[in-house]
Subunit: 325 residues, 2 copies
C-alpha cells in the first residue's frame, strides 16, 4: 500500500513509518517539523519506498499518485509542546484533520486517526472504556489538545457517516521508548534524562496519581493491526459480541497502572541514580488517573501489550545513554 | 462601532443585527445562507449602516475597512440542520472560528463567540454553571455540533491567552421567537406550526424531559450587554466576587424549566388547537434536562430574562400565523 503518514517525523510517527516500511509498504511522510525531528527519519531517507514531504497539513495536501491509506498523527503531543503551540495544536487537529480526511476521501483511501486518552480528560471512571464520554474542561489550558482531538474524532465519524469513508480511530495512552525527545516533558523521558544527568527527579503533585505506560513497539503493533484490518475480518468477529464496528474508537495502551512515584523509583534504581525526588505543584486539570480498558482491542485486533515495564525501560535508558552521551 | 456578524441572516443573527443597527452601529453581515435566509435581513438592506456579504466564513474573510468587533454566530443550530450538514457544521465551528479569530486579531477587534448549552451535553448536574465541564459524546451524531462548539471555545480561549485578544463567549440556551424557521425542527416552532396547521404535536420521548426557553428579545439583550461590556466595568465588579474575568463563558438563557409536554399543552391552548399529541422515540444522546444557572450573567451584565413565557409565545404565535397564512 502507499500510505501517507502525517507527523511521521515525531516519536510515534517515526516508529510507525519504520514498521510500515518493514512490512513492504510505501510511506509518504508529511511533517512540518514543528515538534518532529528530521533526524528521526534520516535512517529512511535512502529507502526508495520512503519520501519526506516537509509541509504543514493545515494547508491542503495534494498528492499526484494514488494513495491507499492516510494516517493522521500530526500534532504536538506533550503538554509543554502544546502549551507552547496552542493555536497550531488546535489548527492541526481541526483544519489538518479536515484536510487529511478530504485527501483520503478524494483518493478513496482508508483513514486512521491517532487520537488520545486525553479525550477522557480527568476521568470519573477507571479504567476507561471507549463508551466513556470523558470529563474535559473545554476552556482550560489543556483544551487546545483535548478539544482538538475530540473535534478530530467528530470530524472522522462525520466523514465515515456522510461519505462512507473507511475510517479508524485509535485512542493512544501514554507511550514511551527510544526516539522520545529528551526535553519532551513526559514522565518517562524526564525521569531517565534527570537520572542520567544527576539532576533532581521532578514529580508534579505527590506522585500518587497513576499512569499506564505502553512500550512503543507494543503500541505500534496495535496501530498497525488497526490500520491493516480488513473490513469484515476482525470486524465480523467483533460484531458478534458488540454493536460497535471497526470504525469506532479503539483504546491502545497498556492497562498496567503505575504510580508516578514508583516509576521514579524504578528508573532511579535501573540507572543507578542517587538523584533526589523534588515535588512540584500539580498543573491545572492534570488527570489523577488514566488507565485503558483494552477489551475491545483484544477482541477486534487480537492485540495486547507484551513488553514488561522493566524491559521497555531498559531499552529506553540505553537509547538515552547513547544519545545524551 | 463597525461590527462583523457572521450568520447574521439566521434566526438569532437577524435579531442581533437589528439590535446593533438600532443602537447606531454599522453591521457587516456575513452569511452563506446555508440555513440562514435572505428574507430575514431584507428589512435592513436599504439601511446604509448595513451590508450583506454573501460568503462562507470557512474561507478567510478580508475586510478593507476597520472593524471594531467580530460576532461569530454562523452555524447550523437546530438538530435537523446540523445532522443534514454534519461536515459544514464542523467546518464552520473549527475553520470558520479560526478565520474569524484571525480577522479580529488582524483588526485588533473585540470577538464574541455565540457558543451553546450543547457544550454541556447530557448534563449530570442541574442547573448548569459555567464551571461544569459537560457530558458530551465525542463520536455520536450530535457531536458535529457539540464538538464544533467546544473546539470553538477552546480556539477562542487560545487566542485570548496567546494574543491577548479581547474575547467573550456566550453559551446560549434554547431561544424562541419571531423569525424562527417554520421547519427548523425546534420544540416551540414545531408545536406552534403543528397547532396552526391542525397536525399532530410530535413529542420525542415521553415529554417529561425539561428545557428552558428564553424569548429572543431577552437573549439578544444579554448578548448585547456582553458584547458592549467595557473591560474593567462589569469585569471589575465581577472580579470582586469571582476569579473568572470577562473572557470566560457566560450562560445566557432562561432558568425557568418546562417539561416538553407542558409546552405542548400551553401552545395547544393558546392557539385553540385540538391537535392530538403523538409520541416518538427519543433521538440518540438527547439531553434529558437543560437549565442555565445565570448567576454569572446577573453579576457580570446585570441581566436576566424579563419576558414571561405566555407573552413570548403569544408574539411567536402571531408571527407564525402571519407568515404561514
Amino acid at each position: 500500500m502507499r500510505i501517507v503518514v502525517t507527523g511521521g517525523a515525531g516519536f510515534l510517527g517515526r516508529h510507525f513509518c519504520a514498521k510500515l516500511l518493514s512490512l513492504g509498504h510505501e510511506v509518504l511522510c508529511a511533517d512540518n517539523l514543528l515538534t518532529g525531528r528530521r533526524e528521526n527519519i534520516e535512517a529512511f531517507e535512502q529507502n526508495p519506498a520512503f519520501r519526506f514531504l516537509p509541509l504543514d497539513v493545515t494547508t491542503p495536501l495534494e498528492v499526484d499518485s494514488p494513495v491507499n491509506a492516510v494516517v493522521h498523527m500530526a500534532c504536538p503531543a506533550s503538554p509543554p509542546d502544546y502549551l507552547r503551540f496552542p493555536i497550531q495544536t488546535l489548527e492541526v487537529g481541526t483544519i489538518g484533520t479536515r484536510n487529511m480526511l478530504a485527501l483520503a476521501h478524494a483518493k478513496e483511501a482508508r483513514f486512521l486517526l491517532t487520537s488520545t486518552s486525553e479525550v477522557y480528560g480527568d476521568p470519573k471512571v477507571n479504567p476507561q472504556t471507549e463508551e466513556y464520554w470523558g470529563n474535559v474542561n473545554p476552556i482550560g489550558p489543556r483544551s487546545v489538545y483535548d478539544e482538538a482531538k475530540r473535534a478530530s474524532e467528530a470530524l472522522t465519524m462525520a466523514y465515515h457517516r456522510r461519505h462512507g469513508l473507511d475510517t479508524r480511530i485509535a485512542r493512544i495512552f501514554n507511550t514511551y521508548g527510544p526516539w522520545m525527545r529528551a526535553n519532551d516533558g513526559r514522565v518517562v523521558s524526564n525521569f531517565i534524562v534527570q537520572s542520567l544527568q544527576g539532576k533532581n527527579l521532578t514529580i508534579y503533585g505527590d506522585g500518587s496519581q497513576t499512569r499506564s505506560f505502553c512500550y512503543v513497539s507494543d503500541l505500534i503493533e496495535g496501530l498497525t493491526r488497526l490500520l491493516l484490518l480488513e473490513p469484515g475480518s476482525g470486524a465480523r468477529v467483533a460484531a458478534q459480541t458488540e454493536d460497535w464496528g471497526i470504525h469506532y474508537p479503539v483504546n491502545v495502551g497498556n492497562p498496567r497502572e503505575e504510580k508516578i512515584i514508583d516509576i521514579a523509583r524504578i528508573i532511579a534504581e535501573m540507572t543507578g541514580s542517587s538523584s533526589p525526588v523534588k515535588f512540584h505543584p500539580l498543573p491545572k486539570d492534570d488527570p489523577k488517573l488514566r488507565c485503558p480498558d483494552i477489551s475491545r482491542a483484544r477482541r477486534l485486533l487480537g492485540w495486547e501489550p507484551k513488553v514488561p515495564l522493566e524491559e521497555g525501560l531498559a531499552s529506553t535508558i540505553s537509547y538515552f545513554r547513547e544519545t545524551l552521551g
